[in-house]
């Protein structure tokens, strides 16, 4: 297992290198720049600004300088915010997105796993139909519809919580629910599918024949294999949910990383785009690695080789 993890970690380096290189050149070839504005900055002032940020250097040299600085863990200064660095912005915003993501993940797992298992065990009953319909609905209703609906009802009509913001613990409820529902729907469908497949297998029949109780069959024998598709989904899923959702953060006015990421692309804040891309990539690669390890642990037929 140790060799497996080390080998996988070594593979991360070329992956990140390719991502950084591709992103670096892609953002540079997009028309417009960080200083493009309604009122054009006079050329002589633009020259000063470009010199200030090193944009007057040839592109290959800027690229090498950037690689040097990220090797030292410095993601550079932000082009949009003169007195903040990318490290600072990410350090500021990532915890917010992590918090929202963790809450949503808890909701998604609690709802999705419970409903998925119930639907599979009570297959083709009203419970199954109800859970499956809820899952389908959760996947079909986009967050930008569900979010405002929840706000209109709980925030404005009932006045129980704020319509937006990120100050009190109550402010976490609606965004976490909105984000959690979508993931819950996927997890529910995957759990149901995985469980059905496992429940039809021979070793379950053997367990039943040996007189194991239904709950023991479900939790002890079936769940372990039934969860494999969910685990595979959770790899990129967790990375996505933790690094923030632009839509949710915009609907609820949450100062998270998702908004920074999308706005940085609009602002041509080159370093912030790169910084968030690197973070995303690292998280996705990291989560996938964890998922691979967990999958081997859950599925005895897989080996680390």
């Amino acid at each position: 297992m140790f060799r497996f993890v080390v080998r996988r970690l070594l593979q991360v380096i070329p992956v990140l290198f390719v991502i950084v290189t591709a992103t670096f050149f892609m953002v540079r070839f997009v028309p417009g720049g960080p200083f493009t504005a309604e009122k054009t900055i006079p050329p002589e002032i633009l020259k000063n600004l470009e010199a200030h940020y090193g944009l007057d250097q040839p592109l290959w040299r800027q690229y090498l300088t950037y690689l040097g600085s990220i090797a030292r863990g410095d993601l550079g200064p932000s082009f949009k915010y003169p007195n903040r660095t990318v490290n600072e912005i990410i350090g500021d915003k990532l915890p917010v997105s992590l918090e929202l993501g963790a809450l949503a993940l808890v909701i998604a797992l609690a709802l999705g796993l419970t409903l998925g298992v119930l639907a599979a065990v009570r297959r083709n009953t009203w419970l199954d139909y109800l859970a499956s319909s809820a899952g389908l609905l959760g996947m079909c209703v986009p967050t930008f519809v569900l979010g405002p609906l929840l706000v209109l009802f709980f925030g404005i009509h009932l006045g129980w919580v704020n319509a937006s913001g990120w100050d009190s613990p109550a402010d976490r409820v609606l965004p976490a629910l909105t984000l959690g529902f979508v993931y819950a729907a996927y997890i529910m469908r995957l759990t149901r599918g995985g469980m059905l497949e496992v429940l039809n297998q021979d070793f379950i029949r053997t367990a039943r024949a040996k007189g194991a109780s239904e709950s023991r069959i479900v939790f002890r024998h079936a769940l372990r294999g039934g969860l494999l598709p969910v685990i595979a989904f959770l790899g990129p899923g967790i990375a996505g949910i933790l690094t923030g959702s632009f839509v949710i953060e915009t609907i609820f006015q949450i100062p998270g990383l998702g908004r920074e990421f999308v706005n940085s692309a609009f602002n041509r804040d080159y370093t912030l785009v790169l910084g968030t891309v690197i973070l995303y990539a690292t998280l996705i690669v990291g989560c996938n690695l964890v998922v691979d390890v967990v999958q081997v642990w859950l599925n005895p037929r897989l080996k680390f080789e």
């Binding site: 309604e38 007195n83 809450l103 609907i251």
Partner: protein, 513 residues
């Protein structure tokens, strides 16, 4: 399962534990205003956006400041001033009663320092061209003059500031009232460099002090009781809340979390007009929305085609039936009431004349007219569809609408990679010269890439009225309408004022429950 269950339980608790410890913002007596663009900086010499100056003007003030009732700027740090040499030399007398929030007196030297800072190449001040009317200022920025003593700014004593301009500038006060002219506290800037404008270091000379700045969340300022005019500061503080989505902002307003919004979603404008008219305020803006015509391309290089396109429009229908937000049809390029400017001519609309001109240019009934693209940034398209339809009906020509991401659109305008483009012109200060200058040959904002020697001469001679007459005759751009700003104000707020140049006024604003 128990181990996993415990882990799940921890996961569930951890975010709540983290969030409970966070401090909630106080709200009593606090005015809550919405902003759209997150300020990049609160440094007056580096700021560019109206949203940045909303906050900066609460924290600091310049020699003079825009008047809440319009017209000539009113005294701020300078109590009085005089202009001599035919408006080329301006002497400002500082009252001596203006203080920085650390207790220092605001001196004439502070202004010299701030102007020098704006013109120093290393500062890279984006709006440094607002200082270019000062004698030798452009040369100092370009490095051809290295001794700042040769630049027309001098402080003979602590309370006198003499500014010598390169030429007679009657509307210099409007320039001096613009945001980038707001001074900085020299010792603080020297000590903390670019980080001086962070809350922990900020020193201003305004009626509020900076308390908190949570990027993309809120900026909080608190009343500064030692300000000489603090008796007109009737709120205990202001929260500037960051809303980058209009619908989210409107929902927060309805939930009572916000006193003043930045805008009203276009889809909800009619609802508020009918159901809650007392919430809705409309302010006309000195912002011209126009169509830029790429004069380097066939057939738009033909003045007859350009005029035909303008003559065929119906601007009144466009503003009253399509845009519907209190905008006024534009028959001139310079908005009415900008500075002291009075336009001499105005555009006419005449579809018959338009068809005649188009036929004369070789496209009778629109036959043979190439299919041009009308490009825009992501803005509501019905207004452009109305124009498209109007040209199809009146002139028999087809244009295709192309929507591009904002900065891509601006970059295309700058290099002339377009046929027809929707564009906007907002002056930096209250003067027609700032708008008309943009159409001089080679100016970076001359999006039509139009070049006319007579026009350049008229602008150089500050003959603005004749310059605009020539502009409207040659028609490198088609003015459409003067924009307006619609926003919501809670009835508990009294005395709220905004002006046509995006200044918000905080004095005498009060909250009544």
């Amino acid at each position: 399962m128990t181990r996993a269950g415990f882990l799940c339980f921890l996961c569930f608790l951890w975010p709540f534990l983290g969030s409970c410890s966070r401090r909630l913002p106080e709200t009593a007596g606090i005015l809550r205003i919405s902003q759209r663009n997150e300020p990049a900086t609160l440094d007056p010499q580096l700021a560019t956006l109206p949203d940045e100056f909303f906050v900066i003007r609460a924290l600091s003030e310049g020699l003079v400041t825009p008047s809440p009732v319009g017209g000539t700027p009113i005294p701020a740090v300078a109590s009085h001033w005089e202009a001599t040499d035919n408006w080329a030399t301006w002497t400002f007398h500082l009252s001596g009663s203006a203080f920085w929030t650390n207790g220092d007196v605001v001196t004439a030297q502070d202004f010299v320092y701030s102007i020098r800072r704006a013109l120093t190449p290393a500062t890279a001040a984006p709006k440094s061209s607002l200082f270019f009317s000062i004698k030798n200022a452009p040369a100092f920025l370009h490095g051809t003059v290295t001794d700042f003593a040769e630049v027309g700014v001098a402080a003979p004593d602590d309370r006198t500031l003499v500014i010598t301009l390169a030429r007679s500038t009657p509307d210099f006060l409007e320039l001096a009232a613009s945001g980038p002219w707001i001074p900085v506290h020299p010792a603080t800037v020297e000590k903390f460099g670019i980080n001086w404008s962070r809350p922990e270091h900020f020193v201003g000379d305004g009626r509020f002090t900076l308390v908190e700045w949570l990027p993309n969340q809120r900026i909080v300022v608190r009343k500064y009781p030692m300000h000489r005019n603090s008796y007109t500061t009737l709120v205990t503080g202001i929260q500037f809340l960051a809303f980058d989505n209009g619908d989210t902002e409107e929902r927060a307003f309805r939930a009572g979390q916000l006193d003043i919004t930045m805008a009203v979603p276009a889809t909800k404008l009619d609802t508020y007009r009918n159901a809650e008219p007392s919430f809705l305020q409309t302010v006309p803006l000195h912002e011209t929305r126009y169509l830029a015509l790429n004069t380097t391309k066939v057939p738009l290089n033909d003045v007859r085609v350009r005029r035909a396109l303008s003559l065929a429009l119906d601007r009144k229908i466009l503003t009253d039936k399509v845009v519907k937000g209190g905008q006024q049809p534009a028959f001139t390029f310079v908005p009415a009431g900008l500075g002291r400017y009075v336009p001499a001519v105005s555009l006419t609309e005449n579809p018959d004349e338009a068809r005649r001109l188009l036929a004369e240019a070789g496209f009778p009934g629109g036959r043979g007219f190439p299919r041009l693209e009308l490009s825009t940034w992501p803005v509501s398209t019905p207004q452009l569809e109305a124009i498209q339809e109007r040209w199809r009906k009146e002139l028999g020509i087809e244009v295709a609408l192309v929507q591009r991401e904002a900065r891509t659109h601006l970059a295309a305008l700058a290099v002339g990679d377009y046929d027809l483009a929707f564009a906007t012109a907002i002056p930096d200060y209250g003067s027609a010269a700032d708008l008309l200058n943009r159409l001089t040959s080679g100016h970076p904002d001359n999006y039509p890439h139009w070049s006319n020697a007579s026009y350049d001469r008229l602008i150089a001679g500050t003959n603005l009225t004749d310059a605009e007459k020539l502009l409207l005759n040659e028609m490198p751009l088609i003015p459409l309408y003067f924009n307006a700003k619609n926003f919501l104000v809670r009835p508990t707020v009294q005395g709220w004022r905004e002006d046509a140049l995006w200044t918000r006024y905080y004095e005498n604003v009060s909250l009544h429950e």
